[in-house]
Symmetry: C2
Subunit: 334 residues, 2 copies
DNA sequence: CTGAAAGCGCTTACAG
DNA sequence: CTGAAAGCGCTTACAG
């Protein structure tokens, strides 16, 4: 335990600048008033000494931090690193840092949140998971605003930001109907996720209205899951005319498995994904998909959190943002 | 600014438990001695009140934190999310949290590091970038241990952890020679990176020893970069017998571009990548590549940092860990 | 083993 | 606009 004190404090700067420690503090505290002269003297002294205000002392008094806790599960799905990048960039501009928590749980538990509470984070984002009652209570009691990103919980007890999954999957069904398909399959993600449920619901609703046959296969939002589902479908000899896959990364597995069995996409089977991850545009896949409006989703999340940090209201709502269909070769032979 | 004090402090717990505030502190401070009776009384009271030690007050005194700063550039390359996941998991077990910094710079600047210094992080990892002199000086002056992960700077002034890029690329060259190729291309990543330089050097050294013709194309470690480089090569009519691509994500772009021009892999051109990202195993690519031993690389990084945190020595070394060649269909038609 | 007290480096009323 | 002083919630010598 040899860490030595850096030892340059506001006191040191004050001495060198010939002002009080309070004045030094005021220079670094947004909103405080200092004369131009004092400011200059302080900044000069600070620069000479290499002064840096201690965030911990600061937070101890203000009981506020400039840290946002970001809890993420699916780092394996390229959609989420993109989300991570955007959140980091957006919050950096606002002077916030990201405390990153990786989790394996579909439902965030108390101990995943504990770290964040210990650091008294200003806000929490959970990107692809929900959270346990206890975990939520801990956040609530500490008045820490929370956003569920790309997940929602039934009811209006959380602020969530998703794309409009229901409407999106309806439009996907309508698009596939228009291309003349009449025998379809839905491949789900993890069944307990709101995204998979809603994408199923929208899709199925339209198919049933149009009296079109469909079948559902349960998978898990991974490439391997998509791949193996096709193996199962092929082994049962139940190749449909179109497959709606609950996310892109699974859809890539679906396409690769179909290729392996020399089932032509889109001639024999049309495939539609969801997310518009970078890879869906790669020529090996050229996947028709639904673009999630990440920019807008991130913006809404950031706006809500900064507002709640500024003045806590506990306001909750399920925000849904429209995306758009991106047609590529997996449904349309150009 | 309506955030209300949670207000449950060691003092409150002390009152309820009928002990002094110091005793409460001792229960939560590892290494302090408390009697079993006191401990029980304190824990009971703490549980009743929902007490949680304030990390900021703690860090203010100890001048140490349980935070590791992780600076990452290439979140778009699937190699790095995997690295992020492993670091988060490893440090969580040790009670450390990750402060995540995303950067666009190949060379980390002072202001990227500033946040980390403000939070007095216990250690810093930079995964795919180097750092400016000033940034390094700031870390050094504050005795904050640093690891360059998957990058190194010439000389021995930093602790870096890489795979053995030189040896790996030599073996890749030897492997390609054995398959009978005699006219090769190296597609580089960003030219200022140590990884790209070393992979080039190892590859070229062996080719020159064997008097084999090669050409170098400069690219940028992205899928698009790989794709466009092939467009250039094709337009020049200079298709080689084998291409060594400095990382996998570029190699996928290379394969897709070759496919587009109906140049058969591996029959007409063999392709080798580097990293062994998940996608390289996907059947659409089946890319021969070099497996970076992420587990071991992460372990060595974590071991070094924890040792330096425990007792700072400033010790530096370039650690290089062996990987292995993974042969797939992009070089070998089974 | 335990308590009273000093102090970490700041912010923030309070006077002037 | 500025300074002296109190205090944020802890850890840590120091006595006992």
């Amino acid at each position: 335990m040899s860490k030595v004190k850096q030892g340059i404090t506001a006191k040191d700067v004050a001495k060198l600048a010939g002002v009080s420690q309070s004045s030094v503090s005021r220079v670094y505290f947004e909103g405080a008033t200092v004369s131009q002269k004092t400011r200059e003297k302080v900044l000069a002294a600070a620069k000479e000494l290499g002064y840096r205000p201690n965030e911990f002392a600061r937070s101890l008094i203000t009981n506020r931090t400039k840290i946002i806790g970001l809890v993420m599960k699916g780092v394996q799905n390229p959609f989420y690193p993109q989300v991570l990048k955007q959140f980091t960039t957006a919050f950096k501009k606002l002077g916030y840092s990201i405390l990153f928590v990786y989790t394996n749980n579909d439902e965030i538990q108390k101990d995943d949140i504990d770290t964040l509470l210990n650091y008294n984070v200003a806000g929490v984002i959970i990107t692809d998971a929900t959270l346990s009652l206890q975990a939520n209570e801990d956040l609530f009691n500490n008045r820490i605003p929370l956003v569920l990103f790309n997940r929602k919980i039934v009811g209006n007890k959380f602020f969530s930001v998703c794309c409009n999954n229901l409407e999106a999957s309806k439009q996907i069904a309508q698009y596939l109907l228009k291309t003349g398909c009449s025998n379809m399959i839905y491949i789900s993600g993890n069944e307990n996720t709101s995204t998979s449920k809603e994408r199923e619901k929208g899709f199925v609703t339209v198919l049933e209205e149009n009296k079109v046959k469909y079948k559902k296969y349960i998978s898990d939002y991974t490439y391997e899951g998509g791949y193996e589902t096709i193996e199962e479908i092929v082994s049962q000899g139940k190749i449909p005319e179109a497959i709606f896959v609950a996310n892109d990364i699974m859809a890539l597995g679906v396409i690769d498995a179909l290729k392996k069995h020399q089932i032509s996409v889109p001639d024999e089977v049309k495939v539609v994904g969801f997310d518009n991850i970078e890879m869906s545009a790669w020529p090996s896949y050229s996947l028709t998909t639904w673009e999630q409006p990440i920019n807008e989703m991130v913006k809404r999340t950031v706006d809500y959190l900064t507002a709640e940090i500024n003045e806590y209201s506990g306001f909750t709502k399920n925000i849904e943002i429209d995306g758009r269909l991106i047609v590529r070769n997996s449904t349309y032979n150009s």
